[in-house]
Symmetry: C2
Subunit: 267 residues, 2 copies
């Protein structure tokens, strides 16, 4: 185990969620943990920031084991990105060593990361130049899902992540399998797979006859059969580890001379 770290933890399921509570209980055994998390669920928030409303911050009790309390816990009336930005610029009086976001209730695979509040909190950490990790449990949205194997795994794997010294502005996006701690087979470095949704909308009429829609898409499983994707790894009892960044420039297209010629002009 590495020396004691100062760790900033957030999530998108809200500060009361089982995933973050299990994670923090484990991390607190070894490290100084400060929790700054949304007051309620903020899933599928993407990288949203709150511009038009003030943010409230409350220091709240956060139960772990009595032997290893958290350093402090704050509940914020904002998005996951707000939480990290606010923590680093207004709440903490020391810069943390690492930002960890999760454990998310359900996977963040493939295109999910674009919509994921969990990943956005980690990206915000990376924007601020800190080593940042997002962690999601594949079956974490199932009732009574056990986050302990994922939390224990992360405690042991964290020194490895930090020793790897990823380039700044890189997030390591982890998805953990539905397995006991002993049955986790290891870690695979993966690209993001494709994972799409059927995007159905459920059209209904309210009691006054007005139309409204519910987003009701189901996952259309993507390339789980392709071995180098995150989807494959997590469904074969490996932890998927995908380095992600926030520069959306499509380099291949940018550097394609035909595209360059077609789109550029001066007058």
């Amino acid at each position: 185990m590495t020396s004691k770290l100062t760790i900033l933890v957030s999530n998108d399921d809200g500060i009361q969620a089982a995933g973050i509570r299990t994670l923090v209980t484990w991390l607190s055994k070894y490290h100084n943990v400060i929790v700054v998390a949304p007051d309620r669920e903020r899933s599928a928030m993407g990288h949203a920031l709150t511009l038009h409303k003030p943010l409230r911050v409350d220091e709240v009790p956060f139960e772990t084991s009595s032997e290893f309390p958290v350093q402090a816990a704050y509940s914020v009336t904002g998005t996951p990105s707000d939480c990290i930005k606010l923590a680093l610029n207004a709440i903490l009086d020391q810069r943390p060593d690492v930002v960890i976001s999760g454990i998310n209730h359900g996977p963040n695979l493939g295109n999910d990361v674009l919509y994921s509040g969990t990943v956005s909190a980690a990206l915000e950490g990376a924007i601020h130049g800190l080593p940042s990790v997002a962690i999601s449990l594949f079956n974490g949205s199932t009732k009574g899902a056990d986050f302990n194997p994922s939390a224990q795994f992360l405690c042991e794997y964290l020194p490895t992540i930090l020793a790897a010294k990823l380039p700044t502005r890189t997030v390591l996006n982890l998805n953990t399998p539905t397995a006991s701690y002993e049955d986790i087979k290891g870690v695979r470095l993966c690209k993001l797979g494709t994972r799409t949704y059927s995007d159905d909308y459920d059209r209904r009429l309210d009691p006054r006859g007005n139309v409204y829609y519910w987003l009701a898409g189901e996952v259309v499983l993507g390339n789980e059969e392709i071995k180098d994707t995150d989807s494959w790894a997590v469904q074969h009892n490996y932890v998927s580890a995908t380095p992600i960044h926030f520069d959306l420039t499509h380099e291949a297209v940018l550097n394609n001379p035909t595209v360059h010629k077609a789109l550029t002009f001066s007058r």
Copy 2:
């Protein structure tokens, strides 16, 4: 001018905003335009989706020139991503030829794109396999900003974009300069520059003595001096055109053998 297209238009400033109204007025002269846009401002929403509330859709009047009306306009109680998803899956009965998002009031340069609702609407179009364009006016957040040069430019440039046949799942992110139509010098293909914010939070007390925070960051101008960035182009009276995609995998890190060795293990 190319043949008549069916164009789906959205934005993040809301359906009443000057930017979308000017854009649609110009596009309608040449094409069939369907507007599906948020009922009010949804800036800095990132790629957020509305999961926990139903979405309302209202067909609304949308004034252009009387000679060239829009095909239809819908106001949605959701985010820009919701608008495009809902349009393509529940509202439109034909698949559009292209998705255009904007004209945004203010630039979407560098890291802005991560937070931008305007860009997220275009990304949602790209996720659905459609040619997609985001367009933002550099000084569009200034009162009385004139969106006509940008709109006219896009009408003329659109056939060029479509003829370039960018790979599917690519968005072309355009920023237009603060210039008259005649003074726009041309188009430069650019990478996303760095553009960061000071991230100050304004800490205040409410009338009951409770603390609240306003996000009050200011732009810290990035690498405008670097000629191949979007920031440079738009500040030198060029339109910046950046191909972006939504695969956040950091390929360079993923394919680095040292990183691979450090992070991977089996047991």
